[in-house]
């Protein structure tokens, strides 16, 4: 009798938890859904549905300022991703595998960009560029994005290497592979998912960054988030919903692609054929 009531209560508790969780998921997704839905609304002033239209997307594609901002964002994100992924992967390898001089200090240094508030990073970087009398441009934006994203790559790669079977490399060396062959045909394929995840992280952080960019972008170096911010500040229009929807779509496609890539990579690495065969 008692246990029966206990069971019923437990079931009720689980049901309550499930309902609450669904509410939280609704809270997480409703604003995004609203944004997307109203980018297709033909009413301009208020958030009342008046009918489907693609007008705001048409306006967007004709808008030279937005085209320019997208181009800048892609240039910055691509450059920052390449530079930060190479340097960050090297650092992650060194941290996980070797006796690095000053290992503890290096680890603290790597955590610093993750910890220090973005607003402080942006202000500090603009102070540096001012100190060096560097003109603010796309270059300063790229430098800033590299600075704040190297750590993420290094930490992801290091975590990936922590569960890495060293005997595979030793076997390759024993079988006569040179150091470079061992790296390119054994080590790199094994850490590739970590490197990809790191690169993707950098690309997304870079393409979405507003705060740091707003400090270090000079005239003519407007990125997409800066352009969106400017549009939001000058008046809320359906075009902002449309451009936001596109940015959301790009981010989600990128994450999905990286997920698939990671899964695919892992299965080839651990398949019977093994790497490099």
């Amino acid at each position: 009798m008692n246990t029966e009531r206990g069971m019923r209560n437990a079931e009720r508790g689980t049901a309550a938890l499930r309902w609450f969780s669904w509410l939280v998921y609704a809270f997480l997704y409703a604003p995004i859904a609203v944004l997307v839905v109203f980018s297709f609304n033909s009413e301009r002033q208020t958030a009342v549905w008046r009918g489907f239209t693609l007008d705001w997307y048409r306006v967007l594609f004709r808008d030279a300022a937005i085209g320019n901002a997208v181009a800048n964002s892609v240039i910055v994100a691509a450059a920052a991703t390449v530079i930060a992924t190479v340097i960050g992967t090297m650092a992650g390898l060194a941290m996980a595998r070797h006796e690095v001089p000053g290992k503890r200090a290096t680890r603290s240094l790597l955590y610093l960009p993750v910890i220090v508030p973005e607003i402080v990073v942006g202000a500090a970087l603009v102070s540096l560029f001012g100190f060096l009398a560097m003109r603010l441009s796309l270059t300063t934006v790229i430098l800033a994005h590299v600075a704040f994203s190297i750590s993420y790559v290094a930490l992801v790669v290091r975590a990936r290497l922590a569960c890495f079977d060293r005997s595979l490399e030793e076997a390759a060396m024993d079988l006569g592979a040179t150091r470079w062959q061992t790296f390119s045909r054994v080590t790199l394929p094994l850490i590739a998912p970590g490197v990809m995840a790191g690169a993707l992280l950098v690309f997304t952080l870079s393409i979405d960054d507003y705060i740091i960019t707003s400090f270090v972008a000079g005239p003519g170096a407007t990125t997409l988030p800066l352009q969106i911010y400017w549009m939001v500040k000058t008046g809320i229009t359906p075009e902002i919903n449309a451009v936001s929807t596109l940015l959301l779509a790009v981010t989600i496609v990128l994450i999905a692609a990286a997920q698939r890539l990671q899964v695919a990579r892992r299965s080839t690495v651990f398949s019977d054929r093994g790497p490099g065969s």
Binding site: P31, A91, E118, A123, I211, I240
Partner: protein, 282 residues
């Protein structure tokens, strides 16, 4: 392996972080002891005036408001996230867990600016909530929702929930279920089992979540800037303002240094706490 390749691997990272991270912070520290001249010029110090100015009542009020918003955000996040993490870790079907977790994380990957804008679109006078309530005839005048502390808090909670769910989930997932069964067998009710077994064992993840939400909330800029009113200035906006329109980099630097020191002190306290419990800090 020998340390020469290790040095070559790590050197570029040191170089970049040294030049683009430590040097800027050092310059900022130096700036914070200089004086602001006319039109944003910098007059040589050294002076403590910028730090003394930080404790003027107006600025103390901004700091207090920042701490208050961060505390409230953290508490609400905790209340919202704990049941979700608990549900995914202990109640959801195992094959569904990854999907449920991914659904929590995906919004975090999307632009912070866009997600904050979504709330502007929902909360403003002609926004979704007001349009809906007015068309239903519930209200006749729009409610003032945007540009209020409530709006800032909603935006902030919305942005930080994933950072609370994940560490709590990790802690709960690792938990030894036989302990829970043992507690129930020994006659503990559901509530007692939760408060005396589950909650203490999940404490590391809970504290990690609190730290991960509280710290970014302290220095937040976009949410108060877009969702808060003119009176809603927080520390982040103060720093931005001094480097921007107020043309006072030395004072802005002093505030930024204060914020950084506070954040580092909090993390140091957290790391010490975790080490004493014999756990690795997140």
């Amino acid at each position: 392996m020998k340390s020469r390749p290790a040095f070559l691997l790590i050197a570029p990272c040191w170089l970049v972080l040294g030049l683009l991270f430590l040097t800027p912070l050092a310059i900022m520290l130096w700036l914070s002891f200089q004086q602001a001249g006319l039109y944003g010029a910098i007059d040589p110090g050294p002076t403590l005036a910028n730090y003394i100015r930080c404790v003027e009542p107006g600025y103390v009020a901004i700091c207090a408001r920042s701490v208050w918003i961060a505390v409230a955000t953290t508490l609400i996040c905790l209340l919202v996230s704990y049941p979700v993490a608990y549900y995914i870790a202990l109640k959801a079907r195992p094959e569904r867990k990854n999907l449920l977790l991914a659904l929590v994380v995906i919004p975090f990957w999307t632009s912070f600016l866009v997600r904050t804008y979504a709330w502007m679109f929902i909360l403003r006078d002609q926004g979704v909530i007001n349009s809906l309530l007015m068309s239903l005839g519930v209200i006749h005048e729009p409610l003032t929702l945007l540009y209020t502390p409530l709006a800032v808090m909603i935006g902030q909670v919305y942005a930080e929930v994933p950072f609370m769910v994940l560490p709590i989930y990790v802690s709960l997932e690792k938990l030894d279920r036989s302990l829970l069964e043992a507690a129930r067998d020994l006659g503990a009710g559901a509530a007692a089992a939760f408060w005396r077994v589950t909650a203490p064992l999940a404490m590391p993840g809970t504290v990690a979540g609190i730290v991960l939400v509280f710290i970014p909330s302290l220095g937040t800029f976009i949410t108060p800037d877009l969702l808060g009113g003119a009176k809603g200035m927080l520390v982040g906006n103060l720093i931005q303002n001094q480097f921007g329109p107020a043309l006072n980099k030395p004072f802005g630097s002093a505030v930024a240094m204060g914020l950084t020191a506070f954040v580092l002190a909090l993390l140091w306290a957290y790391a010490t706490w975790a080490r004493r419990r014999g756990e690795e800090a997140l």
